[in-house]
Subunit: 241 residues, 6 copies
């Protein structure tokens, strides 16, 4: 039934390649099927003005799409002179999601910016950004710990994200673009490794949908995120080996 032939509860193949940038303190190129997002975590000594002198750190994210990451070319935001509402919404979501698993007090007065740049889009770029961004963030924190800057680990848990949707009346896991553009509803779930809710965003497309359908999507998301967290753990273990 799904255009890709996947089972309703089947993720696309997930790849997490680390160490892909020589400058960034943490880096991860994540693939959700054909979607590719380059996640680069940068450590800076300066925190935002409103945080200075409080001994607490900050984690933030920025998001962008290369103009031809999409099926037809999208105008470059730098040339248009502003980031779209969609871009800002997504980067705010990524930032909030990552901060939910970081003890900012333990991080100390340091800012980590996670840049998520979409090299190729096929649906799920924001959920891939959260999932890959977590790995880049974890590696940047490793870098700080290796440098002796941090004595305790400010990471409290994993965080990962996946989208679900109602496609032809059926709840399905991890929408690709062909499904996403025809879904009746879609929802993005961001969960911590231990199952706590970090963020839920569900949206009807043309008309309202039933609470039951929402519950079905949530159940699929839990399954998918368990698999994504395992993939993160594996990538991190390999990078640290």
């Amino acid at each position: 039934m799904r255009p890709s032939g996947r089972a309703v509860d089947q993720l696309r193949p997930v790849s997490l390649e680390t160490g892909v940038n020589r400058h960034a303190e943490g880096s991860c190129l994540i693939g959700f099927g054909e979607t590719r997002v380059l996640c680069l975590a940068s450590v800076e000594e300066r925190v935002p003005p409103w945080l200075r002198g409080q001994g607490r750190g900050w984690v933030t994210a920025e998001y962008g799409m290369l103009p031809r990451s999409t099926g037809s070319r999208t105008p470059r935001e730098a040339a248009r002179g502003k980031q779209s509402g969609r871009t800002q919404e997504i980067q705010r979501l990524i930032g909030r999601s990552l901060r939910a698993v970081v003890d900012l007090q333990a991080l100390g007065e340091v800012q980590i910016t996670v840049d998520c740049d979409v090299l190729q889009a096929d649906g799920g770029t924001r959920t891939a950004s959260v999932t890959g961004g977590y790995v880049a963030l974890a590696l940047a924190i490793d870098h700080l710990r290796a440098a002796g800057t941090l004595s305790v680990d400010p990471l409290r848990d994993h965080v990962a994200a996946v989208s679900c949707g109602l496609y032809q009346g059926q709840a399905v896991l991890d929408l690709d673009y062909a499904e996403d553009s025809n879904a009746e509803a879609d929802a993005n779930f961001v969960l911590a490794g231990q199952g706590g809710i970090v963020e839920i965003q569900g949206t009807a497309e043309d008309s309202p949908f039933a609470p039951d359908a929402f519950d079905a999507m949530f159940a699929l998301a839990r399954k998918g995120i368990t698999e994504l967290v395992a993939a993160q753990a594996e990538a991190l273990a390999k990078a640290r080996a």
Copy 2:
């Protein structure tokens, strides 16, 4: 336990005053407790370029806060030269929510813009905007029907919204500012009159929260939205009398 002394499932007093602007085709000044949002619906003959010539209409929304609607003065977005990410996120949410209950084909090639301007903020400005914006939209559609432009009613249902939160570990309905700034989690629910889900946005503040807490908030939201829909119906009945 709540700063306002309300019961956990108690909305703030809701007021919906219609006919508050002599120019707009539909208007509603909504109050959720001390929060006041002026919702003005404007009908225009022109639809956006990508819709032209298709015989379908469009409903969109814009959102703004007066600089001193907030406790301390917020810089004016027009003077800063751009709308914040938060503003864009909110106005996209309002627009999607209203479109979910409109048959755009039945509306015909007409655009209705619902401007939601916050005169005074005390939490819940986005949910008040959806709820009051619906009333302004319905009155603008009445205006088109009275003018003979529309033979069928493009409105398929009510839509209303409310926020819930976890405050001191307890799920509560309709956060005011004092609660919102101290909540452990908050969620905005947008539901149609018949109970269908239009939009759900739940966010953890400092750390992930349990799925049970989400369910408790959803139950409160259903109760609150039932009351809001009744208040909308009453305000519309009075305006049409």
Copy 3:
């Protein structure tokens, strides 16, 4: 002769409602006929950089129109990314007018910003802004005096404003939109309570007009402003009672 049936030297009904915003240190909703401007005065401890450390204060104003305050919807300045020349011209006028009656030395190192937002426009929004803005400013100064911050009163006089025009060859007082859009000339007068000139702006519409006509408009303005100052005094007395 006038579309409204008013005598040539007759103001529209004036209303000045105070205490209309719970956050602002001074607030006034002014009505000139169908024109409604919400004037909110905010006190801030910070003065502009070029004034710092001199012990003097500053009074400034910002002006905006809600998109549907006008007969047909005007695009939102925050969305367009800049304030129009007209907006800047008006807010500079309001700021200069208010400063002309304030002893900035006596005010001390404090800034008061008066936001004038037009909820509904029917001509005369800039003169209503000055007139209502004065009341908001006076109440904000009351607030500072009540707080013990100010021992002397920095307000030296009232200031109020009204427009006049040549309509069908006749000088008339307080143009509404129907007159304004057909006037041969119009002039805005800002006068202090004791009759001193604060600002005069007279403009021919299609062709130059005679000095006599200017004198006739000035005489009408003096009459109208005397009435506006009385209305300000009454509103302040009531607010202070």
Copy 4:
């Protein structure tokens, strides 16, 4: 008494040099004492969108200051990314002033843009711009008439402008920078050749000023503008010889 030693009713030396740009249809370099403004009038076939197809023309103006036209360097507006409120206010004034003496119907569907760029500033740049801009405009209209595009003369009269001020309690004509920065009040008068009022803008500096002082400034302005109109006529006669 005046820093320059001039009599109270004495203009600075006025110079009007025409034919100073090989591309512009009309050009005039005007000097008011040390103030120098280059006024270039450009004819274009296109009128603004809202005028198209009506057979009427348009006259507009733009104003700018070279960064070092001022005593200390002013940041370049093109680099700052926007025109200041002051710039917009001045260019709107110049445009309105020139249009007041043009029969736009007789001009036909043509736009004339008068660019007024200040090469050196010493007070009075806006009044010099109106006065010199008129000469550039008249020459551009000559150009259209010589080309056979226009059969009737759309210019109905001269227009010129001068500032007056209260300096040490005395009304004086044509403020230079030294006076302007110390005046108690200043007023700009734009009059047509036959004495009709085109625009009056009077502003108190620190405190309101008396109506008598305004009358005294107006009388000085009439004298000065008579002299400026004579200088315009002479420059045009010479250019046309």
Copy 5:
């Protein structure tokens, strides 16, 4: 003598990977040592407004750097709201360089945009962009030819680019970042496959340099570009196989 230990006339290892994006009509990931630029060519039916209806095509380029492509994080241009002067200078150079080898008449009314996005920077990003951009462009033209849109080949020659510099008084080929930031002069050469000059930009760093040194750099560039053209030919042959 060179930080990298290379001979003065030795390029860094060059890699040209094609077919790296599923959406773009032509794609190439180029590596000049540690510098990585993703070059994606997009075909669009629309040419710029000033070219419409002339039967000629257009080739243009855009350039960007991911924020953490650099040693320390560079603010994102989309967030800053404008492209820097450097960015604009580089993308204009790439566009001119590619157009110099395309017969725009033969291309027909089609636009090809080559986006060059720097994933990792280590000097030479603009020369890598031209060299890799050519390969992406050639593949996009292949795509048009395969689709039967083009009957003749609009590509007249190869084009490739390399930088040279004076480092410790010695002319060297293909500067990496360590050399670039300490060079006394640097020059970018863009040459066609047959040796014709497309663009030369030479710049002294701290003080003027001798014409002899320029000649030495030019000679090195010719050698380097011969090698780059061979690498392009090989990559294209492989992609076409």
Copy 6:
């Protein structure tokens, strides 16, 4: 053969008028034939943030064109809200060129900004800006030395610039607009007084050009710049007399 009738190695008449602005520390109005650029050098005590406290100075340039300096009116950059890529490219070139002959250490912690504003354009505005900007800069340095601020002369040499082109297959010196818009290639040369290269920018127009042609242009440039440096020396001698 040349539209102007000049010999291939003949400059247009060059004029360098100094002392043309009463405010600027150094000023020069340069003419290259019909091209006129007003170059004003401003001394400021403040250096850019990244230079503060190092005891070194800075020289920078800004460039602009009056809207009607060109054959048809060009929109004003301040009104469009940004400087074009061409403008930024040119002003970066002027700044680099001037810095190449200044000992910034000897200048001390002072910034000199050279504003080059084109009053009338007929080709060669960037080369005229460098050549005239040098004279303005030298006079501003004279001003600092006369004021006793500088004990040593931070100017190490002259710098001047000229364009060359291939016009009908022939290398020619100092392109005017008629040639520039029809040239097969053009190159801008910036040389120091002693012949050292400061900047070279050569560009093919429609197709690559031969290295021989580049050499021919370079030879012409050397001759032209020798003449320009002599004209600079003469103008400075006269200004200092």
